[in-house]
């Protein structure tokens, strides 16, 4: 029974970890996107003003 509890705990921890990893990948995509957009805005800005 103890082994059972330990297994379950381990599985839950793994789930939590993969949720975290997934969210982290999203963040990294968004960060790349944002950096590109910033540089685009800044290159265009002089022309716009």
């Amino acid at each position: 029974f103890l082994e059972d509890v330990k297994c379950q705990a381990k599985a839950e921890l793994q789930d939590s970890d993969s949720r975290y990893q997934a969210q982290r990948r999203i963040t990294q995509l968004l960060q790349t996107e944002l950096l590109q957009l910033y540089s685009r805005v800044e290159t265009e800005a002089p022309a716009g003003t």
Binding site: R24, T27, Q31, L34, L35, Y38
Partner: protein, 294 residues
């Protein structure tokens, strides 16, 4: 000289501490070997005795919940804390809230705001308000105490959160409590502070919201924070009381409230260890010593 009762009392006190210090350190070491750590016993120890500086940070981390009670989880959880710190910092850099020249304390403030979901838009950031200033003061003090930025951020965050959760409701009552104990210890000074209008203007936020960060030097401050972290906000009242008592003569000579406030916001930094020691004695005298077996 030998007849000076105060002096005799003091030297016997120090002898006692010197002897007991070794015993106390041993009993703390035994507590720290427990797995899981017994938070209640650790709190009681820290309320009753001074924390040896070599164990202070570890005890703070555990009592503040930065590390869990099970020692065999510490490495893993330490890793989580580190990841979380870097994730937040990186995002703030990308969004241009902070850069390499931003002072650490401001970085910690933005990180804390992000986690508490109160980060203002980058374009709408204005001068720090009172609450932000409290946070920054506590951060500056913590930064003096701890070198590692990850530990420092986590301890600030856990300290501030725990302080608000545990003592948020008590803080507004502390000035009244101070008045009460001052009336017991030195009614003449209380009367003077009342008559000059200084009582209402004492630096309560420096004392009771910043927990003396920016008022006491770190060596004295951490002994006060030991008591706050292990569960007492009442200690803050007794430190304030002891500051008033220590500078009684000086304060009785100041008639303008602004003068009183100016002095109390910039107290001399030489004497503060003795002030904290006496404050802890007074606190034990009025509030008792926690009696659980350690």
């Amino acid at each position: 000289m030998a007849d000076d009762p105060q002096r005799n009392f003091r030297s016997s006190y120090y002898e006692k501490v010197g002897f007991r210090g070794v015993e106390e350190k041993k009993s703390l070491e035994i507590l720290l070997k427990d797995n899981p750590l017994d938070l209640e016993k650790l709190s009681t120890f820290s309320q009753r005795f001074p924390l040896p500086s070599m164990y202070r940070m570890h005890v703070w981390k555990v009592l503040l919940g930065m590390l869990p009670p099970h020692s065999d989880s510490h490495t893993m959880v330490g890793g989580y804390r580190k990841e979380q710190y870097h994730d937040i910092l990186e995002a703030l850099e990308v969004m241009r809230y902070v850069n390499s020249s931003t002072p650490c304390t401001h970085v910690y403030l933005r990180m804390f705001q992000l986690e508490s979901q109160v980060l203002p838009r980058c374009s709408e950031i204005s001068a720090p308000d009172e609450e932000n200033e409290d946070f920054l003061s506590i951060s500056r003090a913590m930064e003096e105490i701890i070198d590692d930025p990850i530990d420092c951020y986590w301890l600030i965050k856990c300290f501030v959160n725990q302080f608000h959760t545990k003592f948020g409701d008590s803080i507004p009552h502390l000035p009244k409590s101070l008045e009460h104990y001052l009336s017991q210890e030195e009614p003449r000074l209380l009367k003077h502070l009342k008559n000059t209008g200084a009582l209402a203007q004492l630096p309560y936020s420096l004392w009771f919201r910043r927990c003396f960060a920016g008022c006491l030097p770190e060596s004295s401050l951490q002994r006060v924070w030991d008591k706050v972290i292990s569960g007492s906000c009442k200690i803050l009242v007794f430190v304030a009381l002891e500051i008033l008592l220590s500078y009684k003569i000086m304060l009785l000579g100041i008639t303008r409230p602004e003068g009183v406030v100016r002095f109390l916001c910039n107290i001399p930094q030489e004497n503060t260890d003795a002030i904290v020691t006496k404050a802890i004695e007074l606190w034990h005298k009025y509030c008792g010593t926690p009696m659980h077996a350690v």
